[in-house]
């Protein structure tokens, strides 16, 4: 009995009228935890009851404390008939279990009913007394902290990063149980909410156990998802990065607390060591179908599982055919598991990091994006206690990712995430991340203490790499040599793979920054822009959108059709991204998220990323249009007009994004400018053999990225490329945490969620028609956002990630949660001017990004920062289309490289010219700036309701997070049988989302917090039946509850802060 939970019901307010006769309510409250229930007295005839109850005490195991939520039900007493429920409050008490998080939950909670929404509020006090548990074999993991934030939380220092943790639990979905036919919708919804709350608790506890096993004390980048598999069940799964975090002491915190980048990461598992060994030599573009998992399955192919190897890395159908018994089905899986067990450690743990933001210099090299998708047929989960099937599926995918990373010469995957999309019984599992080499220097345990002794150093804290001596030795021998010399602002761009044996065709040049190492011409990643990266100009959101029709089908036919479409989609999305990137004169993508969503008769693909111009990479070539049949004059003219428009757009974009790499002729003697290389890339829709021959013929003849106009599709595509509406003046947008080129944020921010559902009215649409519609609706949504947020100008929409879904045939749903942050125009202008004056933008960018991350330490980077501004120069276009014998191979190659992330189509080389002026720009200016930051708004004082800020980012500009109070992870269902009366679907969803915000804010406020960071709406499943006047919606949100103080008044609030306590779980706890 290691814990005592105490709850007190204080009062209610704004209750609904439950008794029509008196217009009043006789309310009482049931408080339930586990199987124990207490009741308050009935407070008669009041809408604002004052129960002021005694303390209800629950004596429970800490295991239950973690799993169970505290359930509070408000009821209306009725003498003659059954008591009517007014609504419920679920309180997750997990934050109270960690000594460093909240100590008490106290506040007003909205009383929520799944049919009526919020019905009044209730004031509750909750406390937990934990007894010391000496049981070594305990099942609980109390005290492990969870963070949604994908960087090391500010006000913590990472002593060790242990690595990847994952877990999933499955259950039957109450909505699909037989009992659901006889119970009320309310009972059913509540059963579901309760179950998911329980499952989330259980999942966190299990993950916590794994973390404890590894010796850690926290999970960072915790990502929990639900798969509503319908008939076949409910899966709750989570991934995260286990860490040992040390709390920073506030006294010394002035410049370290704001540091996001105290994040060293290391792999807990030494599995990559072998790969590292071969990495310097490994160049294999290993296609996924060669992976061991695959072959393991393919032996079973005819009977129960099947492989497809066209770029959908794994495609396994289980439960195919009607006559297959469960036992048989488990066969291949068992085999798989046995195989995996042989290399237990290696197989179970992956060198994956869900983090997207790292300390400067931590990332040695980035290989590119690795991703894997797998199409599965769902089958009922027969035994919830052994979710082997789902585990095995993910295991496969992760293996896939791992082998891709290996092929890129990388030993780790950063910015890793997993997702699913489900339509009927088909499920696509996706995983993606960025293959990377991590700095071996950070992985030596010896560095640990050095980091702790000096605050400045602790910013680049050491990493522990568990049991990885072997790897270390090898890695450092191969990399250390130049590591020390290569400036951090470009080092991560250098290729990790062997240039003579590249995993995919790419054009390499010497780094434009240091001139010592090779860099690719384009870099794709899923992580945030490293703080130390040298960037030219500003970044912008780049989206590729794609719609593909598909015949309606069932079962395996359907799955096959889908898996056949996937590679084409990936390829085309990639082409679009590349075109748009070039059109903006940029050469790298960060935060790349490719989402593919299945519907009954179509597939949607949406890729979002933030494009930037990395100074270390060659300037992108232009885009050239080539007519396929240069027949008549008017056609040529048409082409040249088009070409002009493209050129104009590029020029305009350069202006817009302030990309002014000094036009430098290839001058510097001895600069290793490679010969011009040429290539052309084909539009994906034009896959016919004659084009291919042309491809070969034209190889080496053209300078730039070439678009073939060979059919009307292509014309349309080019049109659409050009018709991407420019952002209105004063707006910028990105899907990452920070926007390169903007650093002077004000404290003004506005988080929003927007959801749109479109109905496609004409059934027989072509792919092109659909594409146009899909593109238009995304563009319109963006336009709408710009319009609605115009009062924030000048501002940047950050973390602009769209989620698409096909809820029903003919319906497309797009949801976005992002934040608009305004910045100070005056200083921005001044800075831009300074940028343009000087030759090198890099240092400026550096300052900005550091500042954004709350790091005001130019001195930290100074020694390593590039000592000079870099005039970019010299255009050389090249590209890498090498002979492909068949279009399919081309396609496959393309598709693989998408996963690998770095398809090169053209590039420029540049030469270095050192300019003396830039060293001045490395001045400690940022420090000054950040000190002079003033909050322009203050919390409205005297407001009865605590103002709670929400943001999808991990920070709030001009503030300092002083305490993390715990994770917020909430799941709500709302249903209505009076849709029209509630204002139709829009009215219904509008109020539901507003209610969800309100409940999140209330929980944060009750924990004593004033903001939610890393907020996200992970699930928004909307179903309607207008004919029956009904609708239902499920929403899952998560984030980190925090206390922040404004930078200007941090001294004023210390009483609030109780972070004097420092975790003692220390560095020695692990390794």
């Amino acid at each position: 009995m290691p814990g005592k939970l105490k709850a007190k019901i204080v009062a209610g307010r704004h209750l609904p009228v439950m008794d029509r006769a008196s217009d009043l309510t006789d309310a009482f409250v049931e408080v339930k935890f586990g199987n124990t229930t207490f009741k308050t007295d009935v407070y008669p005839k009041s809408l604002n009851p004052q129960w002021n109850s005694e303390w209800f005490k629950f004596e429970v195991d800490d295991e239950d404390l973690q799993d169970e939520p505290l359930q509070i039900t408000v009821l209306d007493h009725d003498t003659y008939s059954a008591n009517d429920a007014i609504g419920k409050v679920y309180i997750d008490i997990d934050p109270l279990l960690s000594s460093e998080a909240a100590t008490v939950i106290s506040g007003w909670f909205p009383i929520y009913d799944t049919i009526h929404g919020i019905r009044g509020e209730i004031n509750v006090l909750v406390k937990v007394d934990l007894f010391n548990d000496l049981n070594r074999f305990r099942q609980s993991s109390c005290g492990v902290k969870f963070f949604c934030t994908t960087s090391i939380p500010r006000c913590y220092r990472a002593a060790l990063v242990h690595g990847f943790v994952e877990e999933l639990v499955v259950n039957e979905d109450p909505e699909y149980q037989w009992i659901d036919r006889i119970r009320t919708p309310r009972a059913s919804n509540e059963a579901r909410q309760r179950l998911i709350s329980l499952m989330s608790g259980e999942l966190q506890r299990k993950i916590g156990l794994k973390v404890l096993e590894m010796g850690g004390n926290a999970v960072v980048g915790y990502l929990q998802c639900f798969d509503l598999e319908g008939e076949s069940g409910l899966v709750v799964r989570a991934i995260g990065t286990a860490c040992t975090l040390d709390k920073l002491i506030p006294g010394s915190a002035s410049n370290t607390n704001t540091h996001p980048n105290t994040a060293p990461a290391s792999n807990a598992c030494n599995s990559p060591s072998k790969e590292i060994k071969e990495s310097p030599l490994a160049h294999g573009c290993r296609s996924s179908h060669n992976s061991p998992v695959h072959s393991a399955c393919s032996s079973q192919r005819l009977s129960h599982s099947q492989n497809f190897s066209v770029s959908v890395p794994t495609l396994v159908f289980t439960g195919m055919g009607s006559g297959i018994s469960v036992g048989k089905e488990a066969g291949p899986l068992k085999t798989l598991l046995r195989q995996q067990a042989q290399s237990a450690l290696e197989q179970r743990e992956f060198p994956f990091f869900t983090l997207t933001c790292f300390p400067p210099g931590f990332l040695v090299h980035i290989g590119g994006v690795v991703s894997a998708r797998s199409v599965k047929l769902l089958d009922r989960i027969h035994n919830p206690d052994e979710p082997e099937t789902r585990d095995a599926w993910w295991e496969e995918i992760r293996q896939e990712i791992k082998s891709h990373a290996k092929a890129l010469g990388c030993h780790a995957v950063v910015g890793y995430s997993e997702s699913t999309t489900i339509c009927e019984e088909v499920c696509i599992l996706s995983a993606s991340g960025t293959a990377a080499m991590l700095n071996p220097r950070f992985m030596r345990e010896g560095c640990l203490d050095a980091g702790g002794s000096d605050q400045r150093l602790s910013r680049q804290p050491p990493l522990g790499m568990v049991g990885s001596e072997r790897a270390e030795g090898e890695v450092s021998s191969s990399w250390l040599g130049f590591d020390d010399a290569s400036p951090p602002s470009c080092g991560f761009c250098h290729i990790p793979y062997d240039e003579f044996n590249m995993p995919f065709p790419a054009q390499l040049t010497y780094c434009y920054h240091c001139r010592r190492q090779k860099v690719p011409d384009v870099l794709f990643t899923t992580i945030d822009l490293p703080a130390e990266a040298a960037v030219t100009g500003k970044g912008c959101l780049i989206q590729a959108r794609l719609c593909r029709t598909k015949k309606k089908a069932q079962g395996e036919v359907n799955a096959t059709a889908i898996s056949n479409l996937l590679p084409f989609m990936e390829y085309e999305l990639h082409t679009q991204l590349m075109n748009k990137l070039k059109l903006r004169c940029m050469n790298a993508l960060f935060g790349l998220r490719i989402q593919i969503s299945v519907g009954e008769n179509m597939l949607l693909g949406l890729a979002s990323a933030t494009g930037v111009y990395l100074s270390a990479l060659p300037a992108p070539g232009g885009i050239q249009i080539a007519g396929k049949t240069p027949s008549d004059l008017s056609y040529d003219q048409h082409i040249s007009t088009m070409q002009k428009r493209i050129n104009d757009t590029i020029a305009m974009n350069k202006e817009l994004y302030n990309i002014h790499p000094p036009e430098c002729i290839e001058e510097v003697v001895g600069s290793p400018i490679p010969d011009r290389q040429r290539s052309r890339l084909f539009r994906s829709t034009s896959e016919s053999s004659d084009e291919l021959s042309e491809l070969d013929l034209s190889h080496g003849k053209k300078d730039a990225f070439v678009l073939e106009i060979d059919d009307t599709d292509a014309v349309e595509d080019i049109q659409s490329l050009l018709t991407d509406a420019p952002m209105p003046a004063g707006f910028y947008s990105c899907n990452t945490e920070v926007m390169p080129g903007i650093y002077n944020w004000t404290s003004g921010l506005q988080m929003f969620t927007s959801v749109r559902v479109y109905r496609l009215n004409n059934a027989n649409l072509t792919n092109q028609g659909l594409n146009k519609i899909f593109t238009d609706l995304c563009e319109n949504l963006l336009k709408s956002l710009y319009f609605k947020l115009r009062s924030m100008i000048p501002c940047c929409l950050c973390h602009l990630n769209f989620t698409v879904a096909v809820p029903e045939e003919e319906l497309i749903q797009v949801a976005v949660t992002a934040v608009a942050m305004s910045f100070d125009k005056e200083t921005q202008l001044a800075a831009d001017k300074a940028l343009n004056k000087g030759s090198g933008e890099n240092e400026e960018q550096l300052q900005f990004s550091m500042e954004l991350c709350g790091e005001s330490t130019s001195s930290n980077n100074q020694p390593t920062a590039k000592p000079s501004g870099l005039p970019e120069s010299a255009m050389t276009h090249s590209s890498s289309r090498d002979r492909c014998s068949t279009w399919l191979e081309l396609l496959r190659l393309k598709a693989h490289t998408i996963r690998r992330g770095s398809v090169k189509t053209s590039r420029r080389t540049q030469s270095l010219a050192n300019s003396a002026s830039s060293s001045e720009r490395c001045s400690p200016l940022p420090e000054v700036r950040s000190r002079s930051l003033r909050s322009t708004r203050s919390l409205p004082c005297g407001a009865p309701v605590t103002v709670v800020k929400m943001t999808p980012l991990s920070f709030l500009p001009r503030t300092r997070i002083v305490k993390y109070l715990g994770i917020i992870n909430m799941f709500f269902i709302r249903e209505t049988t009076s849709l029209r009366e509630e204002g139709g679907v829009s009215g219904f969803l509008h109020s539901f989302i507003a209610e969800v915000f309100a409940m999140v804010r209330a929980h944060v406020a009750a924990l004593g917090g004033n903001a939610v960071v890393s907020y996200s709406m992970k699930e928004c499943v909307f179903m309607e039946n207008p004919n029956k006047n009904q609708a239902q919606c499920l929403i899952n949100v998560s984030g980190d509850a925090v206390i922040f103080v404004r930078e200007s008044d941090q001294e004023a609030i210390p009483p609030l802060i109780t972070c004097g306590q420092t975790s003692t779980t220390g560095a020695d706890g692990t390794t």
């Binding site: 929003f752 009215n761 336009k783 319009f787 103002v947 009215g987 509008h990 804010r1001």
Partner: protein, 359 residues
Amino acid sequence: MSVELDVFVVNTTIMDEEVYQLWLDGYTVNDAVKVRMEGGVLEGCEASAEVLHSDTMDQYRTFQMCERLLHSPVKLANQLLFQIPPHRQVMLIERYYAFDSVFVREVLGKKLSKGTKKDLDDVSAKTGVTLKSCRRQFDNFKRVFKVVEELKGPLVENIRQHFLLSDKLARDYAAIVFFANNRFETGKKKLHYLTFQDFAFCAGQLISNWTVGALGDYNMVEDMDVDLEKEFLQDLKELKILITDRDLLDQHKSLVCTALRGKTKAFNEMEANFKNLSRGLVNIAAKLTNTKEVRDFFIDLVEKFIEPCRSDKWTAGDMRLYLTHYTNSAHVLDTFKHQVVWDRYMGVIKSCILKMYHD
């Protein structure tokens, strides 16, 4: 392709004041979009009418959801559904409770009953204020009326505290409640030239001088500010002596005329009309015990006093001069013993007439 669902929800609820006004004014979404387009809101934005429509819809929905809270503004401050910065809350409430002076002129002094509400379409047609807006304004009057009806204490203060209105708006509502409670006639043709602000001013005078609360007697009687003080009304009857006693009347007249002589061009008319005018004012006072007569208070003032003066072309200065001397001279009358009542009566009458004496 059609948009089936389109929502945009923010954490800190922002509301466009212009759209809020359009909503309050009862514009439909489509009309509001038209107005906004004409207002040039799209200029400088890369936005289409579609975008504008979507934005307008979002805001209208937000307003509708807020409306319930606006009905009891105190709730707005501690509700959890919308996070609205305090200064925006103030704006929302103030605008919601604001009313059109043309509309309020129509219902001022009427019973705030269902019957009146039914006639709102006529009012709407007559005033050009949309029916929706009329209903909101009417419901606001009624809501405030109902709440303060059962409260003790000063009227303006009660309104301000329960509806979080500005002092000015709270005073206007106090006037509306006062008029509705006493059912003062304001709709007669002769009164048409009077604005709501004229009446509101008079109501303020009546409330602060003629009600129970006016005496500073704060033993918290219900309706202390809403009903005129009975005792005072009884006492007013005593003033009749000023017109029934011939000596007094003559004496009064000569005193006033002496004081006025040579100071105004309208002296002759004043002298000629003195007795009529004095009778008029004193008769109004004497009749106030009868609730029915109370309703005619303003029409009487106009008919018995203002109109004759106007036809004699008195200037506002003449009026002030006359009333001042008329009031003060009564103090010199030896046999007139009701000085206190007289002052209490004439103070209000004087300021009301001065306010009402315009074209």
